[in-house]
Every structure is written in structure tokens, then in C-alpha cells.
Symmetry: C4
Subunit: 196 residues, 4 copies
């Protein structure tokens, strides 16, 4: 199976996940500024989830960029990742409506952790398929370390949510910032590859 349709399908699912989350933002009945401002936790959780899905979309693209054929394992590892990410609208909405409640914060952290594991698993299935060696592949491999650190932070956020919910929220934000900062390694590797 060639990867074109896998990418198209994944793009479609990710585009829908990232967009239906805005339905969480329920239109307030009143028209006061106050009625709008009390929505900030829901807005915050929409924003953070939007960023995370955006990050996964970027990383997903990087990971599959140099692969040509995908096997059954990759297809189902990819489905697993999409399934975990598709739960974000649910866990994100529950967290947003109840900030800073413990259990929803914990569930959201666990959801992020499960997504990180699913992505790690997809990396495990994809990386052996790389036949050439290039700077890009090295850069993608380096992402595994970044992924492990993020996973650690998500687990810490889940544990901490019971004692210090606000610290948990900070821990949820940190990996997003880490990933949004453009990765010089990957960009340089891409530029180099296209020069060749």
C-alpha cells in the first residue's frame, strides 16, 4: 500500500478532530462580557488541544516523509494514534468545563500520555522501514527522545493533578511549548534533502 492515501486519510481525521473541538465552546445565553469571560477555561483547553493536534500533524508528516510503502503494522499503529487523538475533543471538553477539577485534569494528562505512547509505537513501526540514511532520518530519530521527555511530563501532570491542579496545568502546557519551538535539526535536514 502506498502512503498517499494513508496521509490523506490521516490529514482528514486530524483536520476534523482539530475543528470539531470548537463545538465545545457553547454559545452563551447572555450577551454580556461576563458571560463570555467565564468561558476562558473552555477556550484555554481548546487552544491547548488545537496546538497538540497541530504538533502531531507536523510530526506525523515528518515521520512518514521518507517512507515509501506502508505495511499492515504501520496502518494499524496509525489507526491507534488517530483513535487516541480522537479522544482529545472529549477529554479536552471535560477538562475545560471543570478547570481546575482533579479527575478531568488527570484524564486529559493520561490522554496526552496515551497519544505519546501511540506515536512512539508508530515510530517503532516506521523507523525500520527507512532504507536510506539521511540527516532527516537522524532528526526524526532524535524526536524519540523529545517524545520520551514529553511522556514523562504528561505522567507527572497526571500524578500531580490530585495534589496541585494548577501545577498540573503548567505541566500540560510545557511540552506544547517545547514542540512548537521550530526544530532546527529537522528544518536543516529537510532543506539539505531537497538540495540534493
Amino acid at each position: 500500500m502506498n502512503k498517499t492515501r494513508l496521509e490523506a486519510f490521516s490529514d482528514g481525521v486530524l483536520a476534523i478532530i482539530i475543528t470539531i473541538m470548537v463545538l465545545e465552546l457553547k454559545v452563551p445565553h447572555e450577551t454580556s462580557i461576563k458571560a463570555l469571560l467565564i468561558l476562558w477555561p473552555v477556550f484555554f483547553s481548546y487552544l491547548i488541544s488545537f496546538i497538540y493536534v497541530g504538533i502531531y500533524w507536523g510530526n506525523h508528516h515528518h515521520l512518514l516523509h521518507t517512507v515509501h510503502h506502508v505495511n499492515g503494522k504501520i496502518i494499524w499503529a496509525n489507526m491507534g494514534l488517530l483513535f487516541c487523538l480522537s479522544l482529545l475533543p472529549f477529554t479536552s471538553a471535560w477538562m475545560g468545563e471543570n478547570i481546575p477539577e482533579k479527575i478531568p485534569l488527570m484524564l486529559y494528562s493520561i490522554n496526552l500520555a496515551v497519544c505519546a505512547v501511540a506515536f512512539y509505537f508508530l515510530q517503532m513501526c516506521v523507523l525500520p522501514q527507512y532504507k536510506t540514511t539521511s540527516k532527516l532520518i537522524d532528526a526524526v530519530k532524535k524526536q524519540k527522545t523529545k517524545g520520551m521527555i514529553s511522556l514523562g511530563i504528561y505522567i507527572a501532570a497526571a500524578v500531580v493533578s490530585f495534589i496541585m491542579p494548577w501545577l498540573s496545568i503548567i505541566l500540560i502546557i510545557i511540552p506544547a511549548i517545547l514542540w512548537v519551538i521550530p526544530d532546527k535539526n529537522i528544518e536543516e535536514a529537510f532543506v539539505e534533502e531537497h538540495k540534493e
Copy 2:
């Protein structure tokens, strides 16, 4: 009509079906673990429907891979399949909210059976279009048998739902497992084809 736009449209519809099902998971009003755990039947039916739509996406891709032009029959057989699959969010939600109620279980089984029939019908329309003979086409043809067995199990699940709902649930799960296990025949045929 070339198949590119047919595949793109089908991918879009399947991506939306698979994703809007998460809207079934209604955010609980309480923030206790208990409020979360009582959602397990809805979560289970989301998971099983996600897997089924994923399976159909894969099989759909395999089936159309070696066809170049599609006629009016194929377009409408494809529309029929998409329509049947588009009912899954509805039947899945009804089943999930009422497990182990008989009628919703029966309806979900019937929905799966109708999808299987629609896919069989699409196979009937597509297979005569194959002009070359390759291992891949043989592998796709072998899937018809697997499809027939699955259809039998769905019908059994529908019948059994009135007497033993839990057995019905097990019968619904079995074909999903059968299809998720990577199909060595198809993968080998694909690898071989791309070698040529």
C-alpha cells in the same frame, strides 16, 4: 471518470464518519471517576465502530488499487457503501447508550451486515473491471470469502441478540479481530506488485 476523486471523496466521508462518532461520548456533568466509568459501554461501541470503519477504509483502498476507470455502477455501489457506513454513528450510539439492550444490539448487527452486503456488491461491480491478473487481484478475491464469513457472524449476532445479548456482543467483536490481523496474502501481493 478517473478514480482519484472517488477515492478522495470516500476518504473524506470515512474520515468524518470515524471522527464524528466521538461526539457520542457526551461530557459527564460530574467530575468523579464513577461518572467516567459508567461511560464504558459508549466508549466500547465507539472503539468497535472506529475499528470497523478503519477496516472498511483499508479494504476499500485494496479493492480500488488496481482499477483505473470507474463507471456509474461503481460510483453508486460506492455511494451505497458510504451510506450504510454513515449509519454506524447512529446505530453505534444507540447500542452504546443501552448495552446490553436487545433491539439496539440487533440493529447494530444488522447495520454491520448491510455494510458487508454493500461491500460485497461493490466488489461485484469492481472485480469485472480488473484487466490484468496479479497476485493482488487474487488476494482481493480471497477477501470475498472472509466477507461472507463475517456476514454470517453479523447475522448470527442479530439473531442471538434476543436470547443472549452478551454472546451477541462477542459475535460483533470477532470479525473485527479477524480483519485487524494483517492479511499476509494481500501484503505479499502488494510487495510483489511494487517489485515488478
Copy 3:
């Protein structure tokens, strides 16, 4: 502007319109067969709208198949068509929940008529762009007549809805059947074109 992105965007919008309509089918609170059967009018209007969006997707593809570049007029005529079609989930749901009420039936007929006009307008913008003459273009041009007949039937359905709602429903169904029957002219023209 090349047409690839116009087609991709239109496919995306049509795929979403066709799929979100299933959200009209509200999960019943009870689990009886009776609770399911009273949904038939909603199911019927979902089915008929699904078929209509499917028809427009096919005709849209035929129309744009032989065009290479699209101008601002075509882009906005296309946007107009997508807007009219995007109202179908609303008018379809209102009709389905109230069959055989007069006003919803009238509104749905008007919606179909407006879509037909929008498609006619798109044809008017696209056809002068055809530079070559082929059987396909002749076949597409012949569709204009079919479109005019359909438009007449939709208007008749809107008028009749006040006196004989059930006749109005039949009039709504007829053009769908007319369009679903594969068009020999277009298919032959396609086959011929790809032979050349």
C-alpha cells in the same frame, strides 16, 4: 488558479455535508422497535438528501473534468453552489421531523430548486471555458436540459406542497431517480476520451 484545490475543497465540503446529515438521526431514548420505526421520516429525508448530494458530487466532477484553469467567476459560482447545498442538512432535518407538514416540504423543494439554479449558473460560467470540443463536453451540455426539467419538478413540488403534501414528496423523489440512473452518454464519452 488551477482547479486541483477547487476540486479538493469542494470534495471536502460535500463530504462533510453528506455526513453531518446523519446527526439529524437523533438516538431514541427508548430501546423498542417502535421508537426506531417512528424515525422513518427522518431516515427517508436523510436518504433522499444523501442521494442528492451524491448526484451533485458526480455532476460537479463531470462539469470540471475538462476545464484546466478556473477564474474568479467560477470560484464564486462554485461557492454559491456549495452554500446552497450546505443548507440541505437544515431543510432536510426540518422536513424529516415534520413529514408531511406543508411549509417544511415547500422549503426543502425550494432548497433543491435553488441548488439547481446555482448549478445552472456554475455551468454557465464553466462551459465558455471549454476550449476543445469532445463528446464529453456535448454530454455535459445535454445535462443542462435534464437540470431544467428537474428544476421544473422542484418548483412543482414547492407549489403542490400546500395542496397535496404526499404528491410533493413523490415529486421530490422523481428527479433523484432520474439522475441516479447511469447516464450512458456521459459514460461513453468518458470511455472514448480516455481511449484517445
Copy 4:
């Protein structure tokens, strides 16, 4: 990273934003013409938002047309634009349900202003990437002025909403008209480019 997947993902997100807005149009419980007519403000805000998303889709396409590789900055500037646009279904629904209430009108104007800023920022990231000089690039650059004027009008609409809500609505409509009128510069530039 090549731009194909960036465009595909953006097209997907824009297609979903433009379509889920129709869900704002809640099906009335009654079946009278009156029940339908009181929906006009919701319909109006759906129409205006549909046009704006359509405009951004067109401009987005023009902007990225001549770029070949996209860097991390462009990806996140694009994500920022998609995020701002994804808020339109929310602000549009709030405005539509409460016309001519001040705060919702102000919020919608601010949303449009933020989208304009996000698009300006994306232009700032993309334009330095242009390596060749062509009429098309000149035309895209001229759009920056049009964007600045629109931004001014949105801000004026936000300010005016407190004193004269109806003037605010007119100010919201004006830029939409400005952008829908086909841009001769861009079209000529496109035609010329494809001639070369």
C-alpha cells in the same frame, strides 16, 4: 516540508469550518413560515461567515501558490490563522442569535480583525520565501494594502458596535463585498504566469 500536505490540511480545516457553521441553524420546533423567518439573523451571520471563510480560502491559495518549501514559521503562522478562523463558528453563532446586541457584534468584529492580523502575519512569513519575481507575486503583495483597509474597517465595526450596532453590521459586510469582487490584478497575473 513541501507545501502539498500543508495545503491539504488547511483545505480540510477550512472545509469543516465553513460547513459546521450550518449547525448553528437550529431546526425550529414549529412548522410555520414565521418560525422560519425569525431565523434570518442566524442565516445572515451564517452567510457572511461562509463568504469570509471562502475569501480566506481563496487568498490562502493565492499566497501559497508560488512557494515551494515551507518552514516551521510558516507552518505555525498557518496554524494561527486556522485557529482564528476556527473561532468564527462560535462568534458567528453568538452574533446571529443576538442581532443587534452590542457585545456579540463587537466580538465578531474582533474575530475578523484577529483573522486579518493572522493572515498579515502569514503573509510576512511567506513573502520573503518568494525567490522569483512575477506579476502574481506583485499582485499578492498588493493584497496586503487591501488587508490593512479591511482590518481598519473591522476595528471600526468593533468600536462602533457600542453606539450604532446597525452601522457595525454594515461595516462588517463592506470588506466581504470588497473581497468577493474578482481581483483583476491577480487573475491577469495568473493567466500570464500559466502562459509562460
